[in-house]
């Protein structure tokens, strides 16, 4: 039996499929993806990967596809990305899932950098889309299938061999409409061999509207390339946000990733990362500060498919009110992926009696000469530490704030870009400030 949301999605797909961008091949892929979704339906708690985030129960209705942003929507979205205003990033802005040229900065691109809106690339059968889209980390994940079926706009970024971007790229995704609707954005970033870049995504919207976001980013990190990727989730209080990162890392390349979430009613961040070349390094961090009835799920799969990979995962959740955090992390070491070094840590700090933290760190290992481990903790603030600070004259609230900042700071500090780091620590402090009232 189909739920109302599933039926609505099927109807929406039938209605819009002819209008979605892309040539015949893309249309076929959309149809196949939707069929795959349709066969499975929205994932529910009996589906192991979605055990703690039952979309079938949590998504009561599927919102209609967002219309192209009008002048008002664009005006409302103007302030988006303000959190990182001070870092001098090159902004590429999407409002209600569509590229907005007047809010983007595409002039004087550095040598080796090319940027195009995804809708345009799909419509014009861009060769990069044909060769790479959906091929970075192939997955049969339901959320990705849905994204592929409906994908509208997004960023197509290519950084040429050995090009080094001085300015961070900032993809701003804002919701500006005044009616509840759904957006499906899909981006593809290809960092060729030896390229270096900092890529930031931020997702935000108004508190009053129960809009829905399904966003996906495919990230190719070529051999020797260095990419830092930060995803900032500050969606509105009633938003449902499902995001997927699919990244592959080439030989001796480095990917550092941070997912920072404070906003959204229901958030699922999926990260599928595959080691494609030997000797690559990965840092996957997560930081959640949530309250009220927020539900944030960070699910990651790190696939060591080749020898000599090094990965570190650190997930920090701070929970207040009746919020719930979910961490599911899986490290896979394939046969032959010897000398893999993988460590995963998930920590939850429960500030309220009614918060809930669910951790599921997994190891799946098929090679013997490896060093893998994981740890998980859940608990309240350490009374001894609090006492120590209070004994030195620091008031309770301030002492708590200090300890919480130190707790999430660990996940943020690994970033290289000082400006981004400061902005996120500022956002954390702001969250703590709002908690006191």
């Amino acid at each position: 039996m189909k739920t109302a949301a599933e039926t609505a999605l099927a109807e929406a797909f039938a209605a819009v499929r002819a209008k979605l961008p892309g040539d015949r091949r893309i249309a076929e892929r959309r149809a196949a993806a939707f069929e795959a979704f349709d066969a499975l339906g929205l994932p529910h708690r009996r589906v192991e990967e979605w055990k703690y985030t039952d979309l079938r129960a949590l998504i009561r209705e599927a919102k209609p596809l967002a219309a192209a942003p009008d002048a008002q929507a664009k005006r409302r979205a103007k302030g988006a990305g303000a959190l990182l205003a001070g870092i001098g990033a090159r902004r590429i802005t999407f409002v209600d899932g569509a590229f907005v040229a007047e809010l983007s900065d595409l002039v004087a691109l550095e040598p080796g950098l090319s940027i195009a809106p995804m809708a345009k690339a799909l419509a014009e059968s861009d060769p990069l889309v044909a060769s790479r889209l959906g091929a970075i980390v192939p997955t049969d994940d339901v959320a990705v299938a849905l994204n592929t079926a409906f994908m509208g706009d997004g960023a197509l970024v290519r950084i040429d061999r050995d090009a080094r971007l001085e300015r961070p790229l900032h993809l701003v995704f804002a919701f500006g409409s005044d009616t509840a609707s759904a957006t499906f954005t899909r981006s593809l970033v290809v960092a060729e061999e030896g390229a270096q870049a900092t890529l930031i995504e931020s997702h935000e919207g108004p508190d009053g509207i129960d809009y829905q976001v399904n966003t996906a980013l495919e990230l190719f990190v070529g051999d020797r390339a260095h990419v830092d990727h930060v995803k900032i989730g500050i969606e509105g209080a009633r938003a449902i946000h499902v995001s997927t990162l699919m990244a592959s890392i080439g030989a001796h390349a480095r990917l550092r990733d941070l997912v920072f979430t404070t906003g959204g009613a229901l958030v699922r961040n999926q990260l599928f990362v595959r080691f494609a070349g030997e000797g690559a390094t990965l840092a996957l961090n997560g930081a959640n500060l949530i309250k009220g009835r927020q539900h944030v799920d960070n699910t990651l799969v790190v696939d060591h498919a080749v020898p000599g990979g090094f990965s570190r995962e650190l997930n920090k959740s701070v929970l207040d009110g009746e919020s719930r955090s979910v961490f599911q992390g899986k490290i896979i070491v394939r046969p032959g992926a010897q000398k893999t070094d993988g460590k995963m840590m998930a920590q939850a700090l429960l500030l309220s009696e009614n918060a809930e933290a669910d951790n599921k760190p997994e190891l799946e290992i098929f090679a013997d000469d490896v060093q893998c481990g994981h740890g998980a903790t859940a608990g309240a603030l350490d009374q001894n530490l609090l006492f120590y600070l209070k004994a030195r004259g620091i008031p309770q609230a301030e002492a708590e704030a200090l300890l919480i900042q130190a707790f999430v700071g660990e996940a943020i500090e690994t970033l290289e870009h000082e400006g981004v780091k400061d902005a996120l620590m500022g956002a954390a402090a702001e969250w703590l400030g709002s908690r006191k009232q």
Binding site: K360, P361, T377
Partner: protein, 493 residues
């Protein structure tokens, strides 16, 4: 260290294909017709001369089982089991209860002689009591599906401890059985437990009265002998207020080409201030090097810390079975109750292990501790799967989990799947897991001092699992240590 030296000798003597307990005892047996139907259930119940309520209970289970589907979520792989192609009841034929050695079927005695573990003295098993020379362990032997002998009955009676085959307990202590049977693992719990509820043929029943410390270790020995037979035993242990009991089960089965099914249910109930220590040394036939034959060990084990300050401790050494699929669990219902799980799971050849525990914290200040050591060698897969959860009202719940895996060879897999669910702020949960191989530095150190590669591995592995071995009753710790080395034979070099 004499124990290690002994281990090394064992390893030399025994080849991986020569399963030590792979013999068939040729004894006449009394079987139910093949297949499963209401008639089979009625047949078993009638054989056991059971009261009407017990038959009704079984039939309930059977009817519910018909509506259930076999679970497939675990990381094990096996062909579809044809439940109609099994015998659900097989009992060794015998004249009367064994009162002296002469009355015991000589074939059974021969079996015991070959076994050694965990039964040292055939005489103990046969019911001939003689104190002093051997360890004082009361044994209940379950042969295929029927309990054949229970020892030390008199002495246990003096202490007030009831230690009986469960079929006897149903007749002699119906009130106790009715009160507790199915209260920890409900009839409808899961596919295999429900099947067991319908067709279980025997098992052990233990009741330790209030304030009694059971004067000796209790032990059950399970053996599957008959071909094509499923073994479905049922164990129920109740420790009344302030009592203590330590219980050990050991299992072996003969070498057979086809797979045999073992689906047991164990229920433990600990009331206020009571403590139950349950140890398992499982050495069912693991199949040959190509993965033919072996036991499917699909077991439901659960303990209920029902009273305040109660404690249940599971210790398991799992070296046998083609597939081991079990999660001895603790429901920590009472305030200040404590659950422990110590496990060594070794897989070699083509064995598959998916095992772990569940610690469900419901009572205030309940605490639990999980130490799991998995060792995978050959082409085996070894998975730890565990759940630790704290209910909203379980304030002050505390858990520490440590699961380490050791990989020997590059064709095996070691996996860890923990679920950690904290539903209130005052819980403190800590979990750590590591996976690695035996370090070259350690091996080199041992080799440099003149140990062979196999001796070195045996030494290091025994060190790796020491934390768990220490939890076993002394007599069994030595046996277990040997078993570990035997299981790993052929994995190095």
């Amino acid at each position: 260290m004499p124990a290690v030296q002994e281990t090394v000798e064992q390893v030399r003597r025994i080849d991986v294909d020569q399963y030590k307990y792979g013999f068939v005892t040729d004894i006449e047996s009394d079987k139910a017709p093949k297949g499963l139907s209401e008639d089979t259930v009625r047949f078993i119940s009638a054989k056991k001369d059971e009261p009407e309520w017990m038959l009704a209970w079984r039939l309930d289970a059977y009817r519910h089982w018909l509506t259930m589907r076999e679970p497939r979520w675990s990381r094990v792989d096996y062909p579809q089991i044809d439940y109609q192609d099994l015998y659900y009841y097989s009992a060794p034929k015998r004249k009367a209860g064994p009162k002296s050695l002469d009355e015991i079927d000589p074939e059974i005695l021969k079996t015991y002689a070959k076994l050694g573990i965990p039964l040292r003295e055939q005489e103990i098993l046969a019911g001939v009591e003689r104190e002093g020379t051997y360890s004082r362990v009361a044994v209940d032997a379950v042969f295929d599906s029927v309990s054949v002998a229970t020892t030390f009955k008199e002495e246990l009676k003096k202490a007030g401890v009831i230690f009986l085959p469960i079929s006897e307990a149903i007749k002699q202590h119906p009130d106790l059985v009715r009160k507790y049977l199915g209260s920890v693992v409900p009839v409808t719990d899961n596919f295999f437990a429900t099947l067991n509820s319908a067709v279980f043929s025997d098992g052990s029943f233990v009741y330790v009265p209030e304030g009694v410390r059971c004067p000796m270790e209790l032990s059950t020995y399970f053996r599957i002998n008959e071909k094509n037979t499923g073994q479905f035993e049922r164990t129920l242990i109740i420790a009344d207020k302030g009592s203590y009991v330590s219980y050990l089960e050991g299992c072996t089965a003969p070498m057979r080409d086809e797979n045999q099914l073992h689906a047991a249910v164990v229920e433990l109930v600990a009331l206020d201030d009571a403590e139950i220590k349950y140890s398992t040394v499982q050495n069912w036939y693991p199949g040959d090097a190509e993965g033919r034959g072996g036991i499917y060990n699909f077991v439901t084990k659960r303990g209920d810390c029902r009273g305040r300050n109660s404690k249940i401790s599971w210790t398991q050494v799992e070296t046998g079975s083609a597939i081991t699929w079990k999660y001895p669990s603790c429901i920590l219902r009472g305030d200040n109750s404590r659950g422990e799980f110590y496990s060594i799971a070794i897989s070699n050849g083509r064995q598959q292990v998916d095992s772990g525990t569940k610690m469900l914290h419901l009572g205030k200040n309940s605490s639990s501790r999980i130490i799991s050591k998995g060792i995978a060698a050959g082409k085996s897969n070894n998975t730890y799967r565990g759940l630790v959860s704290a209910h909203r009202k379980a304030t002050g719940a505390r858990n520490f989990t440590n699961c380490d895996s050791l990989l020997i060879g590059d064709h095996c897999g070691a996996h860890t799947v923990p679920y950690i669910e904290a539903k209130n702020a005052s819980t403190v949960f800590e979990h750590e897991a590591t996976t690695s191989k035996i370090s070259d530095a350690q091996l080199f150190y041992c080799r440099q001092r003149g140990l062979s590669a196999e001796e070195a591995v045996a030494l290091i592995v025994n060190g790796f699992v020491k934390d768990v071995l220490q939890q076993l009753p002394m007599e069994f710790a030595v046996e277990a240590q040997k078993l570990i080395s035997i299981s790993l034979e052929g994995s190095v070099g």
